[in-house]
Amino acid sequence: MTELPPTPPRVWAWLDPRPAASKGAGGGRGRRSSPMSWRWGDRLALVAAWSAGILLCAISASIVLYMGFRGIQYLRPGLLFSRPQASSDQAGSGGFLDPLIGTLLLTVIGIVLALPLALCSAVWITEYGQGGRVRNLLARVVESSIEIVAGTPDIVIAIFGLALFQQHLFAPFSFTAEGGGVYGNSFFAAGAMVSLLALPSVYAATRDGLLAVPGHQREAAFALGKTRITTIRRVLLPSVRSNIATGATLGISRIIGSTAIVLLLLGSTLRIETQGSFPGIDVLRGTGSTLTSYIYENSPAGEGGAPQKAYAAAFVLLLFVLALNLIVDRIGRAQASATGITPLGVVV
């Protein structure tokens, strides 16, 4: 995950919207460089840079507008509240209540598994990771492991999850056949793997927050006789709360968009099928679908030709993504008004 710089530096007087008087010493004096006096090559490059920026905005806007148009065209409230039916005909195949619940369930499982892991490792690396050769080595191992997890394609994570949960050791966590065959498909298996998608962003956000906490805050707590762990719990973690929230939101948006893991690890049942009889656990062990797998299966690439349902579900999914983007913006802005820095993170 990388962040765009805070408000970008600007030296170019001719594009500065502020009046000349406010530009500081000498800023308003002298001849400005006008693009009209540049050579052709430079003018061309200027136009190319502007058009690249505008092109990206136009594409992004047209994706949202197009999906919005299709969503309004095909989304009916009934679709949100009715369960999917097996049917070859679009009119009879029901709605996507189950995929919607599946997405929410998977997000909750994924983030609940990712948060403690990411917080522990971020705290351990920033607060305990120095001093001693063994400690340095272990800290490097954990850091590079997280880098590797961040760089691993989600299809590889999915296929690893399948290999892992098909082990008989993990039979209690996944969908099992009558004869004892372990499919390795379940909400738990998929949730465990999507938590790996969210892990790096939560870790990076928390670590950056902890590194930015000034040392004297820690020293003040130590001077009051607090232990390191008490300082972490009472001073450091509360002060990086908004970083954790940003990281978690970025992680959630990766989880709800993950398709490969869901296709391989959640089974291909449209409805949520339970396994076993223990309430709660039966859903975790069972299979189901999410919005992403519902879109895939209803598109021409999947089984069915129900593009209208796919559009409607994609519209709902895009609304979630937009909402999460908005939350990240809000947290960033709140942070900015508290600290004077404007983080403009790009989800990567």
Binding site: W38, A314, G345
Partner: protein
């Protein structure tokens, strides 16, 4: 017992607990490598490294694997994966080259040229482009772009020219490369913008004071300073393109076919398949031992290349550390 847990923890116990939880991640990474490699082993035992080469009929080989019994003969394991590797390289390289061009221009625009009011609009838009799920890109591709290209751009003459080899529907290299470019450009923009923002302001001022116009200053001073970041952006975005599975499976046409550059324009309409999209396509055949092993072999190659590319990206970015004064 509970009373003991409620009391403030001594530091050494807290440290050990946190450390143990963190090391779980290391164990997890080790498990990924071990599991995927051990499952892929049979393929490499039977094919050796010539698995990476071409020369076979991949479709027939895969069909043979799908049809094989639970104890397949050694001949069934024969597979030459080059068409998939070629497809992966092809789509990623086109996307990285196109994306790099757009990303450099857009980053210069965002950091150096655009007024603050414009930047405030552009950055959220680019971020949105990065956070659209790949299945939505795939849906737009398969329902909008592919039919459009198939019906309006490919001429009947072009369709007839390769009729006997492959059928052109619109799904293929061109559409895939365009969408893949859109998906990886925001990653490059983020990395390049970060580096541009870290270049000392005085360098720009110096260049302008010497009489360069803003664009000349960018070309002479700022861009050379962030050259490592540009290379790192290309490498890391390439890693992302390598692993993209769902979108490519939806819009690439899904044929075991190697598009031939010699075909001219038709090349961009020819279907293909990548390592990652083949995994998605063959996912129901994992129970067949030979096919399962080759799927894990595809995953192992992806894992290996992702590892190499991340490492390259990290090493290339190292020289940039000297500019990082803030944070």
């Amino acid at each position: 017992m509970l009373e003991r847990l409620k009391k403030p923890w001594p530091d050494h116990r807290a440290e050990r607990l946190l450390g143990a939880v963190s090391l779980l991640i290391g164990v997890g990474v080790l498990a990924i490598v071990v599991f995927v490699a051990s499952k892929a082993l049979p393929i490499f035992q039977h094919n050796g490294l010539s698995w990476l080469l071409g020369g076979g009929d991949l479709e027939a080989e895969v069909n043979r694997m799908t049809a094989a019994t639970t104890k397949p003969a050694a001949a069934v394991y024969h597979l030459r994966a080059w068409p998939l590797i070629y497809g992966t390289l092809l789509s990623s390289v086109i996307a990285v080259v196109l994306g790099l061009l757009i990303a450099i221009l857009a980053s210069v625009f965002i950091v150096e040229l655009a007024p603050a009011r414009v930047t405030r609009v552009v950055i959220p838009m680019v971020r949105l482009l990065a956070s659209v799920p790949s299945v939505i890109y795939g849906l737009i591709g398969i329902l909008v772009l592919v039919p459009f290209v198939g019906n309006h751009i490919i001429t009947t003459h072009e369709k007839e020219s390769v009729q006997n080899v492959v059928q052109l529907t619109g799904a293929g290299v061109g559409v895939t490369a365009v969408i893949l470019t859109l998906m990886i450009t925001p990653i490059m923009i983020a990395l390049i913008c970060e580096a541009l923002g870290a270049v000392p302001q005085s360098w720009r001022e110096g260049a302008v004071a010497l009489g360069l116009n803003p664009l000349r200053a960018v070309r002479a001073v700022t861009l050379p300073a962030v050259r490592p970041a540009i290379v790192a952006a290309a490498v890391l975005a390439g890693a992302r393109a390598f692993g993209e599975a769902v979108m490519i499976q939806m819009v690439s046409g899904g044929k075991y076919f190697s598009p031939k550059p010699i075909d001219g324009v038709v090349f961009f309409y020819e279907p293909f398949r990548t390592l990652a999209s083949a995994i998605i396509d063959l996912r129901d055949g994992l129970d067949a031992p030979a096919l399962g092993a080759s799927i894990y072999a595809f995953a192992l190659l992806l894992l290996f290349s992702a590892f190499v590319l991340s490492l390259t990206g990290y090493l290339v970015k190292l020289p940039l550390r000297k500019y990082q004064t803030r944070g």
